[in-house]
């Protein structure tokens, strides 16, 4: 950027404010009209790219068997006993009504469980509880006896003590429209209301993957409707107090508003859907846009108070700030663009849209902002600036105690960074929602009382058509199931072997001695044929056996596990299969595994992304500061804050999910800004004014100290607003970014100057 061009440009802005304002307004409006295309996704699969191997494995499994998206109603009677006629009626009614849930394909409960009984050579197949019949006490105790001894039901659809029960509805979404999931959720909630009204003393909780999908959609919308206004309010208050100028505050608000409309509108035009992760974009963009305006306005108001006229004051502010703002905007954008390395597509959208927003905020801060400042009335009292302000005192303290500060801050940094390994990967999708979210409450209740939502699914393949009936294969499946049931983390195993054993018993006049696997392949195949002939619509075995009858699926329900534990368990299971079972090939998949793997993979890919961002940003810094040495020194205050923040997180929280691995790259671009501003002023003092390092530090503090403090405060506040999200991917990201930025400011004030002085002194000696 050559001076004459910038000068000409600045005079143009000052002399044609209306033209500039209207032009930017037009650009913003045409981009913003794309906002009408913005849609919220409600499918957990958006977190996975199409090439994601775990997603592919899961889709493949779903293509062979039935899909497992579900709504699970958990029914808790107040008297802790589901085996009474009122509760059984309620379950039967809910079971029947659940067939009306949109896109439902299957409903399972203890009442419609296909109970098989032998009476001599008759095989009776039917609902365990007939809704049309009145139940005697004997009937009820029989139902209880059967249900609590049925491995298919216990810990899946009824608790072992019989105090809660579930109605599981399998949902097959066509995937044509975004209204499908909310339709399902709304219908399910309606059912809950109706039944709770008709059966007092019963509480119903709704969970399941379909409800989780719905919670994703609802949480993004909540973030948009609650966080964005909160953010606006925060910005208005903070700017109002800090700038103490009504017109300046209004100008900033308009500019921020324009930035949001432009970025989100463009998102709409590009067809990017809002996901729970990218729904935080508006909040972040607003935060970043404020930073640009603060630098310009602080200088501008400072000039006015010195007695300059409006035009000169803004021209001077532009001249001083345009280059640092440009550089910091670029580095910030690079930080956000590093999110493209993530394995989680919504973070690409988030990073890209924020990067667009940040760059457009720069454009607006050198067009709309000065134009508006010129157009708005400004009443600023000229007054004497305090020579010895707060920043001067800070500078004095830092210079005086530089050795002490360097040591103490260095030790604190090392101490905090030492806690880094305390962080454990945790991408349990239930814990993405905080306890205020219905879905989380319902799922926690279900996990504690009935059954978990985390599963691992194994598809075991015998290899030959009809092979599931092979005795050796069935025996292997049973051994595996038994081994699984002996594992502490396993709550329930759904296996076809239980059905085979029950049928074998039935076909031998219910003789308990025959509760074992059928002895021959033909027998097993014929049982299966017989059983399939007698099952009703929707309750078939297609969810457990592939059409070729060569494969069967085991669904293993687990307790809540950390990512590492989940991956460890998967490995243990597969290792066990490899070493104990021959001639059986298998695939393993599940949504839980998808989240577990992506959490881990995302850390690795973001490590690469962050490193690349760091290299590019450092290169830009070296170019901008025109000093390789200072550029390299700046690495310390740029990198250390993220390390310290993660250490602090390890100390205080200890769980890191998907979103935290993108924070390092993202905040890198932001914390660099402070260093750029501080170092460029320091270098100007050293080069142009010939000051020594101590004076230069004091000069830097006096010129940019306030602006740094103010922008950091605004950024911290902005990310704290984000941390109020009920969705942990966003709230964690907000909290971590706020911590990182706060630490970065502290380090820029208390660690960077002592470090500079120390290194420069050494060089001079």
């Amino acid at each position: 950027m050559k001076e004459p061009f910038i000068q000409r440009y600045i005079s143009f802005v000052i002399t044609h404010p209306w033209r500039i304002f209207i032009m930017t307004l037009l650009v913003v409006m045409s981009a913003g009209s794309g906002g009408r295309f913005i849609e919220f996704t409600n499918d957990y699969r958006v977190f996975f790219s199409e090439e994601n191997p775990e997603l592919q494995a899961f889709e493949e499994m779903q293509n062979i068997y039935t899909k497992t998206d579900n709504v699970l109603f958990v029914i808790a009677p107040e008297d802790n006993n589901v085996f009474n006629s009122s509760t059984l009626n309620m379950i039967a009614e809910l079971t029947e009504l659940s067939w009306q849930i949109p896109y439902s394909t299957r409903v399972d409960s203890i009442t419609n469980f296909q109970h098989t009984v032998a009476k001599e050579d008759d095989l009776l197949v039917g609902d365990l509880v007939d809704r049309r019949a009145t139940l005697s006490l004997n009937d009820i105790s029989y139902v209880r006896e059967v249900a609590l001894n049925e491995p298919l039901l216990v810990n899946r659809l009824v608790s072992a003590s019989g105090h809660v029960t579930g109605v599981n509805v399998t949902i097959q979404l066509p995937g044509m429209s975004l209204t499908e999931v909310p339709e399902v959720a709304q219908f399910a909630r309606e059912l809950k209301r109706t039944l709770e009204a008709n059966y007092p003393n019963h509480k119903i909780y709704i969970t399941g993957l379909a409800m989780m999908n719905n919670a994703f959609g609802e949480s993004s919308q909540n973030d948009m409707t609650s966080l964005v206004p909160m953010m606006f309010l925060t910005i208005i208050v903070v700017l109002g107090i800090l700038l103490r100028s009504f017109s300046a505050t209004i100008s900033s608000i308009v500019m921020i508003f324009f930035t949001i409309i432009f970025a989100m509108g463009l998102m709409g035009w590009l067809g990017w859907k809002l996901t729970p992760a990218s729904a935080s974009a508006p909040t972040i963009i607003m935060t970043m846009a404020v930073a640009d305006t603060v630098h310009l306005l602080v200088t501008f108001l400072h000039n006015l108070r010195k007695g300059m006229n409006k035009a000169d004051a803004i021209a001077d502010s532009l001249r001083i700030n345009i280059q640092p703002i440009f550089i910091t905007s670029v580095t910030t954008a690079i930080g956000f663009l590093s999110m493209n390395f993530s394995d989680v597509p919504p973070f690409h959208d988030l990073g890209n849209v924020v990067a667009i927003g940040v760059l457009f905020a720069f454009v607006l801060s050198v067009t709309t902002l000065p134009a508006m400042v010129i157009l708005m009335p400004m009443r600023i009292k000229v007054r004497e600036e305090q020579k010895n302000g707060v920043m001067n005192s800070v500078a004095n303290i830092v210079i005086e105690h530089r050795k002490f500060l360097l040591l103490v801050m260095g030790l604190i940094a090392i101490a905090l960074i030492a806690f880094l390994p305390q962080n454990k990967l945790d991408d349990g999708f239930v814990e993405y929602f905080d306890e205020s979210v219905d879905f989380r409450q319902a799922t926690d209740f279900s996990s504690q009382n009935l059954s978990g939502i985390y599963t691992i699914q194994y598809s075991l393949d015998q290899g030959g058509s009809g092979g599931v009936s092979e005795p050796k294969f069935l025996e292997n499946v049973e051994i595996f199931s038994e081994w699984l049931r002996a594992q502490d983390e396993v709550m329930h195993v759904q296996t076809i072997t239980d059905t085979f054993k029950r049928l074998n018993k039935n076909m031998h006049a219910d003789d308990p001695d025959f509760y074992r696997l059928p002895a021959s392949r033909e027998l097993a195949a014929q049982y299966l044929l017989l059983y399939e002939l007698s099952l009703p619509y929707g309750l078939d075995l297609n969810d457990q056996i592939g059409i070729d009858k060569s494969q069967t699926r085991l669904i293993i329900t687990l307790e809540n596990l950390y990512t590492e534990e989940m991956l460890g368990l998967e490995k243990r299971m597969s290792d066990w299969l490899d070493s104990n079972i021959e001639d059986v090939s298998y695939t393993v998949a599940s949504p839980s595994l998808m989240f577990a793997h992506i959490g881990k993979r995302n850390v690795n890919s973001m490590l690469a992304g962050t490193t690349l961002a760091l290299i590019v940003i450092s290169f830009i810094l070296i170019l901008a500061l025109r000093s390789r040495r200072i550029g390299l020194i700046s690495l310390a205050p740029n990198l250390i804050p993220a390390g310290m923040a993660f250490g602090l997180w390890g100390l205080m929280v200890g769980q890191v999910g998907l979103s935290l691995s993108v924070v390092a790259g993202m905040t890198l671009g932001i914390v660099v800004d402070d260093t750029v501003h501080f170092l460029s002023k320091y270098l100007r003092a050293r080069r142009e004014k010939g000051m020594d390092e101590k004076e230069a530090v004091r000069y830097a503090f006096n010129t940019v100290g306030v602006a740094l403090w103010v922008t950091s405060l605004v950024l911290v506040m902005g990310f704290l607003v984000l941390s109020q999200s009920h969705f942990s991917l966003n709230s964690d990201m907000g909290a971590m970014a706020a911590i990182t930025i706060a630490i970065a400011l502290i380090m820029d004030f208390l660690f960077l100057p002592p470090l500079l002085m120390r290194l420069e002194e050494k060089l001079n000696v």
Binding site: E60, N63, I64, T66, K67, W99, Q100, I101, P102, Y103, S104, T105, K119, D121, D122, L123, L124, V125, G126, Q172, P174, S465, G466, S469, M507, S520, R521, E522, L523, A524, A525, Q526, Y527, L529, L530, E532, L533, S534, L535, P536, Y537, G538, L539, D540, L541, N542, I545, G546, I547, D548, K549
Partner: protein, 258 residues
């Protein structure tokens, strides 16, 4: 004057004959049923090809013998030939319109005949997309009828009827049937599930005429619109009036079916 009288008479009778959609639907169903009467007994072989969304295929092979019954559901005997594991399994049913069918099955591996007592007819037949109720015999009392409209379907002028199952354990709320006006043959059926969403679409093709009266579709395809799976039935070796009687449909004879 005479001519005028005739025209008047015709107009009056046709007005009187103006049917409600229910009556018209019923009349069409009755005609369909009547045209397929008198075949006494029939036998055929059927090959079933199942496909899942993953593109995998699986094949079953059975033989079916039916005995036409006056004013009740037909008697049917199904012998399973493939897959090999179930070869020799024989399934006998006395079907009824509104009460559960009577069913017996002979399992060669168990060497026993078992009676199946179940009201379910709506489950998948041998894991396919056909339910037992989709391939069991058509009986007038099984449904309520409603004529919907005329429609050309693949070159055939068709009546479109709505059928509402009267059997309380049916898997469907209704089905829409396309019946060609010329021969009263089913061309297409759409099945709607319990929440009234389209579940499956069945197509009938390769019709051939037997004994100058009985049309049989040799290919039936069922597409499940909800789970993306499909099943095709290929029928061959149709035979009619082979002289079977009720005595050939006894549970004690199941063992001898080969």
């Amino acid at each position: 004057m005479y001519k005028f009288f005739i025209i008047l008479m015709l107009t009056v009778t046709s007005l009187a004959a103006a049917q409600t959609p229910e009556e018209k639907g019923y009349a069409i169903a009755l005609e369909t049923d009547n045209r397929d009467k008198g075949w006494e007994d029939s036998s055929a072989a059927m090959k079933m090809v199942l496909r899942n969304r993953h593109g995998q295929e699986s094949i079953r092979q059975i033989r079916v013998v039916n005995l036409e019954m006056e004013s009740d559901g037909d008697k049917g005997l199904t012998v399973f030939d493939e897959p090999r594991d179930i070869k020799g399994t024989a399934f006998l049913s006395y079907s009824h319109a509104l009460v559960p069918d009577e069913q017996w099955i002979y399992l060669p591996a168990l060497k026993r005949v078992k009676r199946i007592s179940s009201s379910n007819k709506s489950g998948p037949f041998m894991g396919s997309e056909f339910a037992y109720e989709d391939i069991s015999s058509f009986e007038i009392p099984k449904y309520d009828y409603l004529y919907l409209r005329d429609e050309v379907f693949e070159g055939n002028n068709c009546y479109v009827l709505e059928l509402r199952p009267q059997y309380q354990y049916s898997g469907y709320t209704k089905s829409h049937v396309w019946i060609d006006k010329k021969e009263y043959r089913n061309q297409k059926v759409e099945y709607y599930d319990r929440k009234n969403s389209l579940l499956k679409v069945q197509r009938f093709t390769d019709y051939q005429l037997y004994l100058g009266q009985y049309w049989r579709a040799h290919t039936m395809t069922m597409d499940n619109k909800q789970n993306g799976k499909s099943t095709t039935l290929y029928w061959t070796d149709f035979k009619f009036k082979t002289g079977l009687t009720s005595a050939d449909f006894k549970k004690n004879d199941l063992k001898r079916q080969r």
